[in-house]
């Protein structure tokens, strides 16, 4: 896997994460007492949007065409309330972290530092959404 392919995978994961946050944000906006979760969803969305822009610029800068977002994504389960929204958010962060973990392995130097920082951000957000601190975030096989 070359570094551009790895970054393309990260960008695809960011498109999916943004879609997911858009979906759960819409639900949280209608949940009574859901303001803290909605604020967290907004900051998480902003973090992923920033990563998406960074990845797009990196890929374009290398002369490649950034992978486009799909028109829609299947959510793994229905999000109807605060609890299912938090569960989805944890899953989105977990999946994005896993992709960044693979990108860390496939890259070197500055791009590795960028992907490692992105992995860290996903792990922090996953815990902020209520996940336990795992000894090996982003490595699902461990």
């Amino acid at each position: 896997v070359n570094s551009i392919a790895a970054l393309q995978s990260c960008l695809a994961a960011e498109h999916a994460a943004l879609y997911g946050y858009g979906a759960l944000g819409g639900v949280l906006a209608g949940v009574s007492g859901g303001e803290p979760d909605l604020a967290r969803a907004r900051s998480s969305y902003a973090a992923h949007r920033e990563l998406r822009e960074d990845l797009t610029a990196r890929i374009s800068g290398a002369g490649a065409l950034p992978v486009a977002a799909a028109a829609a994504y299947d959510l793994p389960f229905a999000v109807r309330d605060g609890r299912s929204c938090r569960r989805l958010a944890r899953l989105l962060e977990q999946r994005a972290a896993s992709v960044y973990g693979l990108a860390v392995a496939a890259t070197v130097e500055e791009i590795r530092a960028f992907t490692a920082a992105a992995l860290r951000g996903c792990a922090l957000r996953e815990v902020a959404w209520g996940a336990d601190v795992e000894p090996f975030p982003a490595i699902p096989e461990l």
Partner: protein, 123 residues
Amino acid sequence: LVVDAIASEEALGNFGARAAKTHRQLATLLRPVQARGEAHAELLRAALVNVEPSRVRLTTRVPRAEQATRTKLVALISNAEQRRLADCLASESGSLARVFASMSASHAAAGTLMRETSAGPSQ
């Protein structure tokens, strides 16, 4: 790189174990630190091929005061986070870099949670 990382993770795990004995009321905070340090060290030991892990054990004194122990713990975790990130960036092996990045992120999450807990109204 790996040998030093094992010693560092073992030291963190050992601190968690010894501090939990000294400050039993912090056990729920310290046992996961011990477990993570041990899990990290175990995985890294398995990655060593034809190299003996160091027999030198790094130890950090456990403060007698509870708050000082919390402060020390946060500092140790922050140090481990930075060192595993440096190991990630220095690693020639991509798979090892991934493991180090994961460990660093795990320490980052633990440290953040610990700082938030310490700053909480219940403390």
